[in-house]
Amino acid sequence: MSAYADRRALIWSTGSFLMAVLLHIDRVPLWASAAAFACAGWRIAATGRTVRLPGKYFKTALTFLTLGAVLLMFRTLNGLAAGSALLVAMGAIKLLETGNRRDHYITIGAALFLLLAACLERQTILRSPLYLLHTWICCSALIVVAHPRSLLSNRGAAWLAAKSLLFALPLALALFLFFPRLPGAFWAFSKSGSATTGLAESMSPGSISELTDSDDPAFRAWFIGAMPPPNERYWRGPVLHDFDGYTWTSRREHHYVPERVDGLGVAYRYRIAMEPHSESWWFALDTITTPPHRRVRVTYDHQLVGTEAVTELTTYEAISHTRTQSSDPLSILARRFDTALPVGRNPKSRELAAQMRARAATDDEFVKSVLDMFRKRGFEYTLTPPQLDLNSVDDFLFNTRRGFCGHYASAFVMLMRAGGVPARIVTGYLGGEWNPIGKYFLVKQSDAHAWAEIWVNRKGWVRIDPTGVVAPERLERGILDMFPDSVSAQARFMRRTPWLADMGQAWDAMNAWWDAQVVGFNFESQLSMLDRLGFDEPDWQQLGWTFAGTLGAWLLWMTVQLGRAPRGPHQDRITRAYQKLCSKLAHAGIHREPHFGPLAFADAITAQRPDLSATLTPLLTAYANLRFGPKLSAPKVSAFERAVARLDVARR
C-alpha cells in the first residue's frame, strides 16, 4: 500500500515537471531537456529493487556541472533563457532525491516556476491552452501528492482540481480586468528575445530585396476614420543620409533644427500594434509631427525613435499627413549633409547629373528628366539583379540597369545630390495587406521599401518614389502580386488556395485581437475600460476600489456556492413538497405537532377532520413511502408534487 502511494505521488509530480520541460523544449538547450527526461526515467526505475539512486556526492557534482554548462552557454546565470535552462537542470537533479512529500512539493513548485517562465517568454494564443492544461495538471498533482494514500482516485483528483480551478476562474478574470497594473517596473531585465530581422540603419544594394521572402509581420495598422489611398501608404522607417558610394547609413549624430511643417490634406488617425524587432525606432505613416508616446521622440527627419529597443508588442496611436508643405528655408547644415557625396566615387554618375542639371532650367525639370531616364532608358525592376561593384550607382546606371527599389532610390538620391538638390533616402514599408475581418492593414517584412525625399524650395521635403515610375503596379499591389515566384513558399501556397488565404487572414485577425486585448492589456486599457463602464476620470484608485468590490463579490459567491451542501435532487423536492403540504394544512387550521411523523399526522387528521381523511391519508402515506421507503423514482416524486399542488383545503 505504501509503495503504491509513493509511486503514485512520484508519477504525478514527475509528470507535471516533465510537462513543464516540454513547454520549454524548443528554447531550452537540448542537454537540459534530455537530462530531465533521463533523471525522471532513472527515478522511476529506482522504485523497483534493482536500480539505486545516486548519493550526495554525485548529485553535488552534477549540480556544479550544470552550473558550469549554463554559464558556458549563456555567459550568465541571469536572464530568462539561462534561468529556464538552469531551472530545468536543477529540477532534474531534484528528481533524483528520494521522494518524501516535501520533495514532491518542491518538484511541483519547480514545474509552476517553469510555467511562469514560459508565460514570460511567449504569450501566443496557441500556447495559452497549453499553459491552462499544465496548470490543471500541476493542481491535480498537488492533490495527489498531498495525500497519496487517500481513497480519492486519480480521476477524482483531476476532477476536483478542475472544479476548484473553475471556481477560481471568475476571480481570475475579475482580477485580470481590475487589478491595477501600475506602470513602471521594479527592476529592469534584459530579455534576449528572438527578434525578427527587418530594416536596418543602413542600406546596401540588395538589402531590401532580402526581406521579400519573410512573412514575419512588422506591424498592424488600424485606421480611425479616413484611409489613405494605396499610393500614399508609405510607412517611414530609418532615414539614411550618408553615402559612401555603396552603402547608405543614417548618422544620428547629425542634428539640425527641423523645418516647421504644415500638413496638407487629410490628417490620418491610426493605431499601430508593432511587433518586437529589437531596434529602437517606431513606425508611422509618412510624416508625423507629434510623438504618440512619451517614450518616443520625433527626429528632425520625422522618424520616430524610442528610448529603448522594442522588445515586446507595442501599441500606439498617431496622427500623420501624407502631404506636407514647409515655408521655412532649409538650414545650411541640412543642405550640407544632404548634398554630401563621397569624393572620387561614382564619377560617371556625377558627370551625368551635372549634364542633366545644366540642360534643365529648374530643379523640377531636373527631377523630371531623371525620372524620365528611369522610365525610358530600359530600366528593369527585378528582385534578383546582378551584384554591383563598389561604384554601385555607376554600375547600376550604365551597366546593369536592373535593380530593386533600393537601387533606384540610391541612384536617384545620388543624382539629385550631384545636381545640387538636397535629397535623402527613406526606408520603411509600402502598402500592407488588408484584413477584412479585423479591419486592419497587416504590414509584413516583405513589404519593406526604400524611396527618396528631395527638398523643393517653398515646398519643403517632397517624397519621390522612383519605383512608382519604373514599376507603378508596386504601389497598388504587394510584392506577392508582382513577383509571385520569389516570395516564400507558404505565401505562394496560400495564394493559390483562396480559402486557405481566408483562413490565414482569420487566424491573423484572431492573433491580432489576442495581442491587443489580452497580451497588450495594460494600465491604459484598464482606464479606458473604466471609462466605458461609466466612471468619470478613472484613475488607479477607482480601479483599486472596483477590484476590491469584485473580490468581495466573488468571495461571497464562492462561500455560498461551496457552503451549500449538495442534497440529493429528489430528496430536496420531496421535503419541499411536504413542507408545502404542511403549510397549506396550517392555513386551513390543521397544525402538525412537531413530534408527529407523517403517519401519526394522518391519524390526527382522521380524528380532527374526518372529512379530509380520504384525501390526506393517501397523500401522507405516499410521502412516508418516498421519504423512508426503499426505492425512489422520479415519476413518483413528480406525482406527489403535483398532488400537493392540486390540494385545496377549505377551512372549517
Binding site: 512529500r101 516535501r102 512539493y105 513548485g109 509552476l112 516556476f113 510555467l115 511562469l116 508565460c119 514570460l120 504569450q123 495559452s128 499553459y131 496548470t135 493542481c139 498537488l142 492533490i143 501528492v145 498531498a146 495525500h147 494514500r149 487517500s150 481513497l151 480519492l152 483528483a157 476536483l160 476548484s164 480551478l165 471556481f167 477560481a168 476562474l169 471568475p170 476571480l171 481570475a172 482580477l175 485580470f176 487589478f179 497594473r181 501600475l182 517596473a185 521594479f186 527592476w187 531585465f189 530579455k191 515586446e312 489580452v518 497580451v519 497588450g520 492589456f521 495594460n522 466573488w554 468571495l555 464562492m558 462561500t559 461551496l562 457552503g563 451542501a565 449538495p566 442534497r567 440529493g568
Partner: protein, 325 residues
C-alpha cells in the same frame, strides 16, 4: 530545534486551553460545527503563497498578461482550497469513544467511531491523541461511519487521562490545515506490569488436596448468587426469575480444587508496587490455566471466580490501588 519544538508545544497547549474556554467541554456525540473549526496555512501553503507573490511581482514588472492571469488563477485556487479544507471537516460527527486498557509499558488504545452524515465524501480525516504519536487517518464516504484506532504509550499504572483529541484535515491540496480540539475525558486504565517470580500460592478450598478435575468434569452445586454484570445468561436461574425472584446465577464449582486466593498482605517481603506486579502475574497465570482465583486487597475482596469480567475487575482494583481519582 528542541527549543522551537518546546515553544510550539507550549503554544499549542495554550491555544487548546483557550479553545476549551471558548467552546466548553464536549460530550458525545460531538458534531464539528463551523465555529469550532480553525484553519491555518501549512508550510506548503506558505511556500505556495510565496510562489504566487513572486509570480505577481514578475507579471507586474514585465507587464505580462498571461503571467498575471496565472497568478490570479492560483490565488483564487488557494482561496477555494481554504474553503474546501474547512468544508471537509465540517459537520463530521464523533459518535462514540471507548478505551482499551493495557499493562504498564504497553500501549493503551482509544477507539472512536467517526461518522460523515453528509452526501459528500470526506477524505483524510486525521485524529491525534498526543503530539508525537501516530495519527489515525480515514476517508469517510457519503453517509458512512468508520472506526478509528489510536494508541498511546503508558508508563505508570493507574489512570492515564488525556485531555483532548485533535481532529484535523489538510485535504485537498495540503495547503491549509483545518483542525479542532475535542475536549473529551479520555481515561485509560493502566494495569501494573505482570512481573514476579513467586510461584502461585497453594490451592485453597473445601477439599484441599483432592484431585482436580478438568473444567469439563462434573461441577458441584455451590449455590445461588445475585446476578452480576457480565455473567453469562445461560447460568441464570430462569425458573426462579419466572416465579418473581430477582435475577440469580446458579453457581457451580469445581470440587474445591483449583481455587486460589491471592492475598495482598501475604506478600510481606515486597514493596507495594512489587506486590501489585506479582499479583498481576498470578492473576494472568491463573486465567491461563483456567483456574478460579480470588483477590484479597486491604480495602476490597473479590470472591474466587474466573472469566474476563472477573479478571478485569481484579486487575482494575490492582491498577487503582492507592491512586487518588
Amino acid at each position: 530545534m528542541k527549543l522551537a519544538e518546546r515553544l510550539k508545544l507550549r503554544a499549542a497547549e495554550r491555544a487548546a486551553a483557550w479553545a476549551l474556554r471558548r467552546q466548553g467541554p464536549d460530550t458525545l456525540p460531538v458534531v464539528l460545527q463551523r465555529r469550532r473549526i480553525y484553519i491555518l496555512p501549512t508550510r506548503a501553503g506558505i511556500g505556495f503563497s510565496l510562489l504566487i507573490f513572486t509570480m505577481l511581482i514578475a507579471g507586474l514588472n514585465y507587464k505580462n498578461s498571461l503571467a498575471l492571469f496565472l497568478t490570479f488563477l492560483l490565488s483564487g485556487l488557494a482561496l477555494v482550497a481554504m474553503h474546501q479544507c474547512h468544508r471537509n471537516l465540517l459537520n463530521v460527527k464523533l459518535l462514540d469513544m471507548g478505551t482499551t486498557s493495557a499493562f504498564t509499558g504497553e500501549r493503551g488504545g482509544i477507539v472512536l467511531t467517526v461518522t460523515n452524515e453528509s452526501r459528500t465524501p470526506r477524505y483524510r480525516i486525521e485524529l491525534r491523541a498526543l503530539p508525537k504519536e501516530k495519527i489515525a487517518t480515514a476517508d469517510l464516504g457519503a453517509q458512512t461511519s468508520r472506526r478509528m484506532d489510536l494508541s498511546v504509550p503508558t508508563s505508570t499504572r493507574g489512570l492515564l487521562a488525556l485531555k483532548r483529541l485533535n481532529v484535523a484535515t489538510s485535504h485537498p491540496f495540503g495547503l491549509f490545515r483545518a483542525w479542532t480540539w475535542v475536549h473529551l475525558p479520555i481515561v485509560i486504565t493502566v494495569y501494573p506490569r505482570p512481573r514476579g517470580a513467586k510461584p502461585l500460592p497453594a490451592q485453597h478450598g473445601i477439599n484441599a488436596g483432592a484431585v482436580s478435575r478438568g473444567s469439563t468434569g462434573e461441577d458441584e452445586w455451590l449455590g445461588l448468587r445475585p446476578f452480576r454484570d457480565g455473567d453469562s445468561p445461560r447460568q441464570v436461574a430462569w425458573k426462579a426469575y419466572a416465579r418473581g425472584a430477582p435475577l440469580l446465577i446458579k453457581e457451580y464449582g469445581s470440587t474445591g480444587s483449583d481455587l486460589r486466593l491471592f492475598d495482598f498482605s501475604a506478600l510481606t517481603d515486597l514493596d507495594v508496587e512489587a506486590r501489585l506486579e506479582q499479583l498481576t502475574r498470578w492473576i494472568l497465570d491463573a486465567e491461563k490455566r483456567g483456574e478460579r482465583y480470588g483477590l484479597v486487597m486491604p480495602n476490597q475482596r473479590f470472591e474466587p471466580d474466573q472469566g474476563a469480567d472477573h479478571r478485569q475487575r481484579c486487575l482494575t482494583a490492582l491498577a487503582l490501588f492507592g491512586v487518588t481519582l
